[in-house]
Subunit: 183 residues, 4 copies
C-alpha cells in the first residue's frame, strides 16, 4: 500500500515529527511504501475564492498530487486550542476545491503527540470531520501520545516498549483495512 505521511506541526524537532517518524518505520516494516512529506513543502496562502480564481497555489497543487499518488494518509497532528491546527485545515480547504477531490476514497490514520495528559486526542476528533466530510475513510482507532516530551529516547525511539508495540499493531491494523478499501 502506498502511504503519504506527514506531521502537521511546522516546528523543527516537533513531537509530532518524532512520532510520525516512528509510524513511518512501523508502516515500512509492515510492507507499505511510504512518502514522508515535510509540511513546509505545502506552504500556501489562506483560502480565498478570489485567489483561487487565479489558479491553485503551488503548495496546494503539490499537496494534492502527493495525496493522489498515495492510497492512504498517516497524519500526526498537534492539537491547537482543542481542535486541529488552522494551517492543516486551510490546506484541506484548498484541496477540497480540486476536481476530482483528491481526498475522496482514500483512507487515513490519525496520530497526535502532546505534552498534555489528553495527548492531543480532542484535536484529532475535530480533524476527522473535514476528512470524513470529503469522503476519507478515517480509521476508527487513533493514537495519542501524552507527556510526549519525556516519551522518546535520544535516538527517537519510544522509551516505553508497550508504546512501540501499540503503535506497530495500530499501523498494521490500519494498513490491512486501508489495503482492503483500496481494492
Amino acid at each position: 500500500m502506498r502511504i503519504l505521511a506527514f506531521s502537521a506541526s511546522l516546528r523543527r524537532g516537533s513531537l509530532n515529527g518524532r512520532l510520525i517518524a516512528l509510524a513511518v518505520e512501523a508502516a515500512r516494516r509492515a510492507g507499505a511504501e511510504v512518502d514522508l512529506a515535510d509540511f513546509h513543502e505545502f506552504a500556501m496562502p489562506s483560502y480565498d475564492a478570489d485567489v483561487q480564481a487565479l489558479g491553485m497555489p503551488p503548495g496546494a497543487d503539490a499537496f494534492s498530487k502527493r495525496i493522489e499518488a498515495a492510497q492512504g494518509l498517516i497524519i500526526s497532528s498537534p492539537e491547537y486550542n482543542y481542535s486541529m491546527p488552522g494551517h492543516l485545515k486551510n490546506a484541506i480547504d484548498w484541496i477540497s476545491r480540486r476536481r476530482p477531490n483528491p481526498l475522496r476514497g482514500r483512507s487515513a490514520l490519525l496520530l497526535s503527540a502532546s505534552n498534555s495528559p489528553a495527548g492531543g486526542i480532542r484535536g484529532l476528533w475535530q480533524l476527522r470531520i473535514p476528512l470524513e466530510g470529503n469522503g476519507v475513510f478515517v480509521f476508527p482507532d487513533m493514537f495519542w501520545l501524552s507527556s510526549a516530551e519525556s516519551a522518546f529516547t535520544p535516538e527517537g525511539a519510544f522509551i516505553d516498549p508497550k508504546r512501540a508495540t501499540g503503535l506497530d499493531a495500530l499501523v498494521a491494523s490500519y494498513l490491512r483495512a486501508g489495503a482492503a478499501l483500496a481494492t
Copy 2:
C-alpha cells in the same frame, strides 16, 4: 458596548461580508460602538513556534489589539468542509499564544451565510470550540442564513423582513448579555 465585527470570508463581495454589514447596522441601532474590520488586515503566516520565537507576526498583533479594544466579537463565518475556515482557526492559534490571552473573558456572537440549506451552522458549532476553550462566552443562539445568494436586495438588505427582525432581536439579546458579562 464596544464590538469588533468581521466576516471570516476573504472573498470580495462575499455573502458573509453582506451579513456582517447588516449585523453591524443592527448593533449600532442597539447602541453598540462597532469596529468593523476587514479580515485581510490580519494576514499572517501559518502558526509555527519557530516563527513565533522571532516575534508575533504583525497581522496577529493587529488582530489581538483590535480584540483587546473591544468587549465582544460579532463574527460572520463561512463553513468550509463542515468546520470553520482554516485561516480563522490559524488566527486564533496565533493570538491564543499571547499573554494575557486577548480572547479570555470576552463574549461573541456567531453568524454564518451560505448557499447550502444548512446555512453554515455546522461550521459555527466547530468554531465555538476554540473560542470557548480560550474563555470566550459564546452566545448560545447563532444565526445562519441559508440560500444566502438569493436573500439580499441589490442594496444589501434582507428581502425577507422576518430575517431582518430575527437578526435585530438576536443582536440585541446578545448585546444585553454581553454588556452584563462585561461589567
Copy 3:
C-alpha cells in the same frame, strides 16, 4: 454481507422508519442479507454500573446479539437537540461494556430524516463519535433527508427519483466497503 438495520426513532410511523425501510430494500437489491429490527425490542434502563453488577439487561443483551450476528449496521437516526437521541446513546453505553465489545470491527452507514432543512445531519456527526470510539468503521458519506414529511409517496417510496438513485448508490458503495472490511 449481513446487515442489522434499524430506525432509532421510537415513534410509530416515524420518518426515520420510512427511510430505513427504503434503505433495507436498497441493501437487499444489492445482495445484502438484512435483519430489520424495531428499536422497541431493545428497551433497557438507563446505564447504571450498579444495575450492570446484577447482569446485563435483556434489551442490551438482545441488541448486542443482533449486532454480533451482523457484519455491518445501517442506522437511520433522528436528530434531537443537535445531537443523537439519548436512548440510542444509552444503548451504546450498555453494549460498550460487554466483552468482547460487539461494535468493534463492524462497519456502519448512517442516515437521517428530518423536517428541518438541515435534515438531521448534525445529529449524525455526533453519533459518529461513540461508534468510532468503539472501533466501528463509519462510512464517510451519510444520507440526510430534509423536509422529509413531504418526501414520500403514500406507498413509502421517494417522490423524487434522484433521492432513490442517490440512496441506492450510497447503500451499494457502503456495502462494497463494508464487505471489503469484513474479510
Copy 4:
C-alpha cells in the same frame, strides 16, 4: 443565585457524585442557594413522541420544575464513549419539548470526574451542544478531574489543595457570570 446541582452518574458512590458535593460546598460558600438533586429522582422512559402524546413522564416534569426553580445549573457528568451519558441526553430530549423550554436563558457550569487521564473532558464538549442549542449559557471554562479514584480523602475532600482552590475559583467565577446573566 439559585442553583440546581446534580451528578449525572447513577452509580452509588460515584466519582461525579463526590465531585458535585465539593462543587456544592464551594457554591454555598460563595453565597449561592443550592438544590442538590439525585438524578434517580428524574427517572423517565426513552423519549418517544407517542409516549409524549399521553403526557410528560413524571420524571421529566420533576426535572423541568427543579430547573425552572433555579437560575443556573452545576452538572458533574461522567464521559461515556467519548460523549455524554445517554440518560442525561434523554432527559434533555424530554424537557426540550416543554413550552416554555425550561433550559432557555439559564446558565450552566460543567464538571467531570474520571479515572482516565483525559478526565471526562471530551464528554463535556459533547454535552455543551444540546445545552447551548437549547439556549443555555454554558460557562466557557470547565473542570475535569483526572485519575479521580485517587483524588479524594476518605472524607471526600480533594487530597491536592490546588484542586480545591481551582474548583473554588471556577465556581465563584461562574456564579459571578451567572448572576450577571440572570438579571
